[in-house]
Subunit: 285 residues, 4 copies
């Protein structure tokens, strides 16, 4: 066992992950969730929400680049992007790397969390909050989308806590919500959501997947190991027109070059490969 | 926390993985290692060596197929295959799926472990031990290779405990050992070894990688999440002539069809993708 | 370092205890509870109910002798003793050590558990189930007492899971139940109950204590560290006439000699001391 | 369920204790040890050295009063008291409660730790460092004693990390050290040391006990549950003339009154009882 200060996080109903902590920089409850900002022994500074490690200095690029780029690379010219959640600002940072983007609206319910991120997690946002193209809205994602203009966004990135991690986000994985997402998209819009873990939570994952399928004609799944989660995180793309699987590595390479994308993990080859690795749904299949 | 009976395993120097256990079928010490055969709540029957979960009913196919097929698919006609370690018999099982194979020699130091596998882990070997092409040798892998005929094997699969998991296997990740492996190979031989985890153990991983590079002209790396390890497992291919990266998905598909390969996880697309996903070495890079 | 198979048990709302396991002899669910019989690395064979270690080879004598003897030594001639719970048979064993006892009725709701104890935990009962003075009744303790004859028992020993450990036993710590216990006692009867832990569960403990006080004129508290519980276990005596505090060490020594008591932990000095050590209620007082 | 930030501490070779943490106030390495000052969810502010919880707001009085008073009550007039270790200042605080004390010398090797205690742990020292009778010496206990005047002290209180918790203190549990302690004592001096845990560490405990017996004619043992340690802590008194067991409760009460002792846990009855409870050495005896 790891001795001394540690973070203990659930991985699944029957499994836990323990990792040693060096500093506990902040530990509080906002109106919406328990928040810790910590310094982990191996993974650097990290954000913990309701006991779940959300992102760490050491591996947040794996998570955030995997979340954002496959969808945004697939869209020929994402100009208006909506981000639901993503309070750390790192999803915003990745979205803004695409120079096609003219407006990125980030909607997070927890204004206190966003302030903590600004103060303690600059390696996450890296100034993204100050980009003139960025707009941060502190609001319930569901309510924001309900009131948003139809046919406005080219892409939507949903970056919330796991669908089984609390009641806060459950509605935001429902087919009703995806229908609303579709409504606010342009006719060739593309959406991506993180989707927890399909191996340990096959029922919840399949529920989310089916909800996406009920709304979007093109649905693609992928996953990637995120060390600090103790599992590989799943992602689901729902698209109205553009299919990520039609892009060759060469085509992806062209988009990378055209957009001048600077990334740490996702390369054209990686984006291509990620979408082709089998996803295992269920620990018993 | 998971309450009641559980397996606690190290993931890294500062991280642990805990998973609930339903039955402890066997718990003993052989001459070489501590052995448990357990029934996990989520992952089914599992083998635990020196505290490390080696393989489980739920995810052993991810590990064993990822270990064996990229290398064996790369070789145009693997006839004689040497397996070092792999006491459960599942690596042998995957090797024998290639009908080109005429002789598969599995060398494991721990005869007791092999007997336990035969008795308790039939979902692993699935009769592989009884295949007339299989030969099981209970011996020290290093000594076996030292006495083996030069230029004999087409492929070598090294399936040992992690390089940092104990003293037993350390020699078997050294450049001296890889040189011996090369000696017993044909001039177009290919070798693959599991290599622990490059994210949490960058130094050890880099040491192993450099040892492979010191001996083999073609070296390829890949990794894949193995849920019961609590991490993504790395693999390193050392090849004398055939380069895994030169095979297109179509070429891989042809080999699959020609060999009539039946797999659960590795498809031609998966093998292609796996070799192209970036490997992250170190939690601080 | 605790790696490999282990039992993880809750100690309090915010604390857990982990101890390494060598064998998991039995793991099942009876109609009433989850049951494990295990071999612990340090504590020997043990019974685990709903995730809580109930008793182990190494320390069950501390628990069972502390539970039974202070009350039974206080009563000048306990002839008829009722035990509620105590499925392992060790409380019965301790009660039967008093030669004054002519009839010991043990009432446990879980007949399967009693059979497991007979089969796997002979160091607990040590033949007590076969003593002609013993009678084992498989029944709900509450219902048994409700139907039992008034004024029958000299002593009652309540040996149940912790009051906060599950719904099964909650009623059996209530004032209504204690009133029933009083009814089935002789006018000089004495009762003792284990009471969980007063340090970590002050509210529940105080509730139990007040329930005993509401019914019995003489109430005495004590506790003793039980290593496998991860805490000191509390006990509460409710007595109608005899006060444990009036017995000097000499008087206790006389009773020990007169009854020929053979014990491993409780001596006359220990019984005297145990009743005089301060009990700490609450971790914040 | 314990999720989120926690302290994980070893209880024994095969057992661990986990307790939830609210704040990590300080985490550093001094020249001698790893130091954390934390706020625990149930136990309040706490000091952690090398992974072992040393004392907490909730239970430090149980530990420190149990350590100091049995020995100091036994001595008819302790005037000069030496404390080895005890960097938090709480042992000093308890010693100074005896108005007979004219000089209390506290020798701790870790000056940084003492400064942290002054800054963050005022509930421990409660101003004891400012008492004109107190003298704090930052020095190696062994070296200090080696240079100290013979026949000077009435009482010595040894308050160090467990004998098996690190190399730092091992010498300070040796017979050679106890001989030196005897040398610096008056002919009727009395010494007490905490001694780790005799249940889980019988060999180390017996070694310490035998070391005390090799030097002191009168040796008394006792233990008391300290919740945050996950075990009952043992104490050993070595005395040159006064025997703690000869004091009746009445005699202890007189000393309490004469000295005007104000305590939270140790009463005359408790001191009497503590010395008479059986100590269990070894989990297998």
């Amino acid at each position: 066992m790891v001795y001394g200060p540690a973070i203990i996080e659930p991985v699944s109903e029957h499994s836990d992950f323990i990792t040693r902590m060096k500093r506990l920089i902040l530990s509080t409850r906002t109106r919406f969730q328990e928040v810790q900002i910590v310094e982990l022994a191996e993974l650097g500074r990290a954000l913990v929400l309701d006991g779940f490690i959300q992102s760490t200095e050491a591996d947040e690029h794996i998570y955030h680049e995997s979340l954002v780029h496959p969808a945004l690379l697939t869209h020929p010219s994402p100009e208006r992007v909506l981000i639901i959640g993503g309070g750390e600002g790192a999803t915003l940072r990745e979205v803004l790397k695409h120079p096609t983007v003219k407006e990125a609206v980030m909607v997070d319910i927890d204004g206190e969390l966003v302030e903590f991120a600004k103060k303690y997690l600059d390696f996450m946002h890296q100034g993204a909050f100050d980009d003139p193209r960025a707009r941060v809205v502190i609001a319930d994602g569901k309510e924001y989308v309900a009131r948003a203009e139809s046919g406005y966004f080219d892409a939507v990135v949903i970056d919330l806590i796991d669908p089984y991690a609390g009641e806060l986000a459950k509605d935001l994985y429902s087919d009703a919500f995806y229908a609303e997402i579709k409504r606010v998209m342009k006719p060739d819009g593309i959406m991506v959501t993180q989707a927890g873990n399909s191996f340990f939570y096959p029922k919840v994952y399949t529920w989310v997947l089916n909800n996406v399928k009920a709304v979007f004609p093109i649905v693609r799944e992928y996953w990637n190991w995120v060390p600090s989660f103790g599992y590989a995180c799943n992602f689901i793309i729902g698209s109205l027109k553009h299919d990520p699987l039609t892009l060759s590595t060469d085509a992806l390479r062209e988009v990378f070059q055209a957009r001048g994308l600077k990334t740490r993990y996702i390369t054209p080859e990686a984006a291509h490969a990620l979408l082709r690795l089998p996803v295992v749904v269920g620990s018993r299949t």
